[in-house]
């Protein structure tokens, strides 16, 4: 039980990596509230957790929602020790082919969403005497993936914001780190494979797997294990890092 009596908020916690993180944290003894933009999926996730998760619904793109979600989470948990900024979307396009609205939305969810939630969550973590924040970046923030310019910029922004936050709140004993997953077996990946692969999405999955040293895509639980490490006291001297969990993709 590596998170005994810790209180955690996980954004985008209803599915994929966020759900796996929420589940692992709960298994390790934490009280967990998931935040998600999709109320039906959030309800499903709570059900799947056996009623263990609390939930709050809202859009990290909206400052008011961010404030309310943090307030609701803190009310349910009685305080906050751990924040996982996981909510994210994925759009495609180069700077010439990207749609303006899509560009804005991409940056608003993946980068500004971290800002908005942290703005309200950090004071709560300070009240608790310190804690840990894990932001979700991506290998797409480390290397350039063609036709992923907005996504790449948003995720690289998350890496630098992670460093800035680590420097800003070290004094208050808040560690801030981020994870850079490669391809992970999630609904988000499935949608990308369907979009790119047409009638044969499996072909795209195999292609993604072939890009890694380990020749496979990750399971969400493997990202959750890394998030657990960074959120726990095991990482007590680690702050400001971007940890790739990418099967060696970015090391090549």
């Amino acid at each position: 039980m590596r998170l005994q009596s810790k209180r955690a908020l996980v954004t985008g916690g209803a599915s994929g990596i966020g759900f796996a993180i929420a589940k692992r944290f709960a298994d390790e003894g934490a009280s967990v509230v998931i935040a998600d933009v999709n109320p039906a999926q959030a309800d499903d996730a709570v059900k799947k957790s056996g009623g263990k998760f609390g939930r709050t619904v809202g859009d990290v793109c909206k400052m008011r929602d961010a404030e309310r979600m943090v307030q609701e989470a803190v009310a349910q948990l009685g305080g906050l020790d751990i924040l996982v900024n996981n909510a994210g979307i994925e759009t495609t396009g180069s700077v010439t082919t990207a749609d303006d609205d899509q560009w804005e939305r991409q940056i608003s969810v993946n980068l500004n969403g971290v800002y908005r939630i942290s703005r309200f969550a950090v004071p709560e973590i300070i009240k608790a005497g310190g804690g840990a924040i894990v932001n979700m970046s991506s290998v797409g923030g480390l290397v350039a993936v063609r036709e992923y310019s907005a996504y790449g910029a948003s995720k690289a922004g998350v890496i630098q914001l992670t460093r800035s936050m680590a420097a800003d709140y070290a004094e208050q004993k808040i560690r801030v780190n981020c994870l850079c997953p490669g391809a992970v077996d999630t609904p988000l990946l499935q949608r990308a494979c369907e979009k790119l692969g047409g009638s044969d999405p499996g072909k795209i999955r195999e292609l993604y797997a072939s890009f890694t040293l380990l020749k496979r895509i990750a399971q969400p639980e493997e990202i959750a294990a890394a998030a657990l490490f960074l959120a726990s006291d095991e990482a007590s001297f680690i702050t400001g890092v971007a940890l790739p969990v990418d099967g060696g993709f970015s090391a090549q």
């Binding site: 680590a166 890394a226 990482a235 400001g240 790739p244 969990v245 090391a251 090549q252």
Partner: protein, 258 residues
Amino acid sequence: MRLKGRRALVTGGASGIGYAIVERFLHEGAAVAFADINAEGCKRAEKKFSKNGQKVHGLIGDVSKAADASRLVNEAVKFLGGLDILVNNAGIDIKGTVVDISDEDWERQIGVNLGGVYRMSKYAVPEMIKAGGGAVVNIGSIAAFLGYSGLAAYGASKGAVVQLTRNMASDFAKHKIRVNSVNPGVVDTPLLEHAIKAQAGANGDWQAIKQAYVDGQLLKRAAAPAEIASAVLFLASDEAGFVTGTALMVDGGYQIQE
């Protein structure tokens, strides 16, 4: 018990970070052979470790010598019955710029910190392949990423270890061996004390220099060796099943500061 049933070899295991790694691995259920060049320290550490009736054995040797490296791996495998985890931790630090360091010191620095990783891995990796895969953790340093003055050979050796980690990850992924590096910042170890005392000189105030190091940290403290060991544990365990070729900083945020 996150390493139950695993067999690990840790170099430089008689003191400092290596000692903390052996201690943590034993606590997590692994059987451990550790190597050290210091015969007395090695015996002392083995005595302390075996108090709890755990399977642990100290081996004496110099990782910079091919014959020693081969023998160390052989003896470890004989004792453990195979090998799943290798931690290349043995290291030294010798001061100097490229102008004022002696040729012998340069060779020795590279021979231990980089050559030691190469030599131990040369003999250990085939054993891990026999075991069906495993994990290698190399100890780099924050000095692999930042240019500390008067630490040319040390910095070069550690920078090379970080890159060798990526190459090994690439070479042995097909054998299910993950290879990562842990890069500590300031850690409370005999090596640190030795380095700071050397910097202070015979009559210098080494405590003041140490305090300056600590004040320069984001977290305003040096790491305990146990905090490096917990990062090594993570990378050596199945929890890091999709992590390979990475350089994990365990430096209290030092590298990211202005």
